[in-house]
Structures are given as C-alpha cells and as structure tokens.
C-alpha cells in the first residue's frame, strides 16, 4: 500500500508566557500537496513548523498527523525531514558525517549522491564549522531530504542559497512534492510559488 500522510491542524495557538504568537490556525494537507506558511517576521512561521515537527507543543488546539488514516503517536521523527535556520549542524563533524548522522537507510551510496546533488562533493571532508552559511544551508537541506521522508518541513529553505543552490532546491521540491507532503515556511515569493495552497499568518492573527 502506498503511504499516504495527512496533517490536520485545528485551532492551533501558541503562547510564550503572556505573549501570543498565533491563534486559531486550522488547515489540512496531504501527500502530494505542497503547503506554504507565510507571514511577517515574528508571526510564528518557524514556531508552527516546529509544532508540526513535534519539537514544540501547541498551547491550544489539536494537531493530528496520520499515515494511511491512522494517527502517528510514536516516533514521528521517522516520518519527517526537517530543515530550519534554527537547526544548527554539528560544527565538528564533516559534511559527510553530518549527512550520515541524519541518514537512516542501508544504502550508504545515497549519502554521497545527495552530497553531490547539492554541490557539496568537494567539501565532503570539511568540518561544518568552516563552511559558508550558504553551504551549511545546503547541508541542512541534504539532512532533510536524504531519507526520502513522507513529510518534508522546510523553514526558510532558500535562505543564504545562491542561484545554483536555489535551482537544485526547487528541482528537488518539484520532484518530492509529487509523492510527499511538503510544507514550506517562507516569505520568498519564488519559494511560495512552489505550493498551491497555504496560510498567511498575518491574516490569521489580525
């Protein structure tokens, strides 16, 4: 049976202490769809992506992530690929070691494949701490996509990427969104164009 993922969010809100980040967020996305989350700085795009990834809990509301109709209650991380500027890589590990840390499969040639695909082939043995911010972003994207996850969550995926990096990113998103569920949080119109539906947190919070 083909794996079908479904994310259903109803009335999500998030508060940090007394300050409310967002409220009343409801949406539904499934495999084969690309969903965008946009909004001004501080509107809670990254927080919402982290809630979907299971890294934070919503203050109110319900988020259900289902696989073939059954809610995933354990080991959500096995189904998710995640990249965010808030996610630092291990500075003292090399590009290959960071990618390998994220890799869960058996065919290790895939690690080299993704490293080459994102143009990090000649930096493979360099420690992450000496990479430029653009190259680090490429490495983050590798760790998000290397396991071909059913759900791909990308927070500001194009940040710091050059034209060549963005080309690869867009090509990969076009490829994976046919089968996977992709969520992109961004303000970049180019990135948002990749998705056919989404929410604007500025409108939700107003």
């Amino acid at each position: 049976m083909h794996e079908r993922y479904l994310i259903e969010a109803s009335n999500l809100s998030r508060r940090f202490g007394k300050s409310r980040i967002f409220r009343g967020i409801s949406f539904s996305v499934e495999s084969g769809e690309c969903f965008f989350i946009t909004g001004p700085n501080g509107s809670g795009k990254s927080t919402l992506v982290q809630i979907i990834a299971g890294l934070q809990k919503p203050s109110e509301g319900k988020l259900a992530i289902k696989l073939n109709g059954k809610e995933i209650l354990e080991s959500l991380w096995r189904h998710i690929g995640f990249a965010s500027p808030a996610m630092n890589l291990y500075e003292r590990l090399t590009v290959y070691e960071n990618a390998s840390f994220a890799f869960r499969g058996k065919d290790k040639s895939l690690i080299n494949h993704y490293i080459s695909l994102f143009g990090l082939g000649k930096h493979k043995d360099k420690e992450a701490r000496i990479l430029s911010s653009g190259l680090r972003q490429r490495l983050r994207l590798i760790t998000a996509m290397i396991n071909s996850p059913g759900i791909v969550l990308l927070d500001e995926p194009g940040s710091n990427l050059d034209v060549e990096g963005k080309d690869v990113l867009f090509r990969e998103i076009e490829k994976i969104k046919k089968e996977s569920l992709v969520i992109i949080a961004s303000n970049d119109p180019e990135e948002l164009k990749l998705c056919h539906k989404g929410i604007d947190l500025a409108k939700q919070n107003s």
Binding site: Q50, Y90, E97
Partner: protein, 233 residues
C-alpha cells in the same frame, strides 16, 4: 509469538545501531574539540600534584586520602559531564539531534558517553593520586570496586541532571540545587568504602550493591521520564 520475538530483536538491533551512531558522534566531537576531556584532565593533574606537593611530608590518615581522591574525581568529572546536554542546547544542535533520534536513544547514548568519560577520568586520577601520595590499597579489588561503583552512580546522576538543567533557563543555579540531594549519599558511601579498602577492611558488599542499585533506580526513572524532560518546551 515467534513474530513478536522477531520484532523485539529487530527493534533491539535498530536501537543498538542508533545508540552506536549517537555515541560515535559524541566521541568524534569530543576528541576533535577536546574541550571537556582537556579541562577535566588538567583539573585532575593540577589538583593531584598540588595535594601531593603540599602534603608530602604529612602522614595523612586513609580517610583523608579517600576524601581527597573523591573530591578530585568528582570535580574533574563535573567540569565536563554536566555540559553534555547543555552543549547541545547552547550550540543549537538539539533540534538536529531530536529530529533524527528517539529520546530514549539519546538518553542511553549520553549515559554511556558520560560513563565512559567518567571511567577514563577515574582511571587517570586514581593511579596518579596513589603514585604521588605513595600509598597502596590494602585490599585492591575492594578499592577498585568502590571506585567503579561510585563512578557508575555519579555518572548516572550527572547524565540525568544535565538533561534537566539543559532545558531550563537558570542552568547553573538549578544544577547546584538539584545535584545536592542526589550526589551527597553517593559520595558519602563511596568515600567510606574507599577509606575502608585503603585501610584493608573486608569487602562491604551491601554498600557496593547500594551504589549499583542507586544507579539502577536513577537510570530506570530517567529512561522513563527522559522523553518528557527532553521535549518539554
């Protein structure tokens, strides 16, 4: 039945592979930066040498030697061990870690890393101290067992405390407060056991078992609660 057993074995093997991967990652990072181990070994070397130089002419009782050994081991280890989780938070790598690992795997890997590091520090500190102070335990097996059991208990405590503290904003003060009731009984018993072994006393199996049982309780509770500590925001 067979299918369930097979699933159990497969899950065990996957868990083991992930733990090995996490452990390898921590060792690579530690030995490339050498931040924790260098500080600990420097502390151990300096204190041992200072104690031996200042008390070379004195004939210290075995109980005092035991206290000094444990004070040196304890502070050498605490310099590094408490930072194992805090480092993930401070360097912003905890998201990368959480998104690619189960909470239980993280706990077991960190516990093993702490335990190995603690044993390395103990193996360096103890012979160094015995050599500089020119003493030799009357009952060596008892002495080694007391140091091993004490180190095991302390490493399990520091792993759990490190995880709790890493998730709070008042890190250093909280660590001091919550480490007090947990470390005092372990240090107290370890010091007594080591003193007794230096004096040539008979093996105190009950207290050695207490230290191991204490570690067992701490590890079991931490294993069950770690997910809630780690994911709490």
């Amino acid at each position: 039945m067979i299918r369930r057993s097979l699933n159990f074995v497969i899950r065990g093997l996957i868990l083991q592979n992930r733990i090995v991967k996490l452990l390898k990652k921590d060792f690579y990072i530690e030995f490339r930066s050498r931040a924790s181990i260098n500080i600990s070994l420097a502390f151990a070397g300096i204190t041992t040498l200072s104690v031996s130089l200042t008390s070379a002419t004195m004939n210290l009782p075995f109980r005092v030697h035991s206290i000094l050994i444990w004070v040196i081991i304890f502070f050498s280890a605490m310099n590094s061990l408490s930072h194992i989780f805090i480092r993930e938070e401070e360097e912003g790598t905890s998201i990368f870690l959480s998104i690619h690992s189960e909470a239980e795997e993280i706990y077991i890997a960190k516990l093993l890393f702490n335990f190995i590091l603690f044993i390395v520090i103990t193996v360096v500190v103890t012979p160094l101290y015995l050599f500089f102070m020119q003493i030799w335990p009357e009952n060596f097996i008892f002495f080694a067992s007391s140091v091993f059991c004490g180190s095991t208990a302390l490493s399990s405590i520091t792993t759990t405390l490190g995880a709790i503290v890493a998730k709070t904003s008042m890190r250093s003060s909280l660590f001091t407060v919550i480490s007090f009731p947990l470390t005092i009984p372990v240090l107290w018993i370890s010091i007594n056991l080591t003193a007794s072994s230096l004096e040539g006393g008979s093996v105190d199996l009950l207290n050695l078992l207490f230290l191991l049982a204490f570690s067992g309780v701490i590890v079991s509770f931490s294993y069950l609660l770690f997910k809630f500590i780690w994911m709490e925001q």
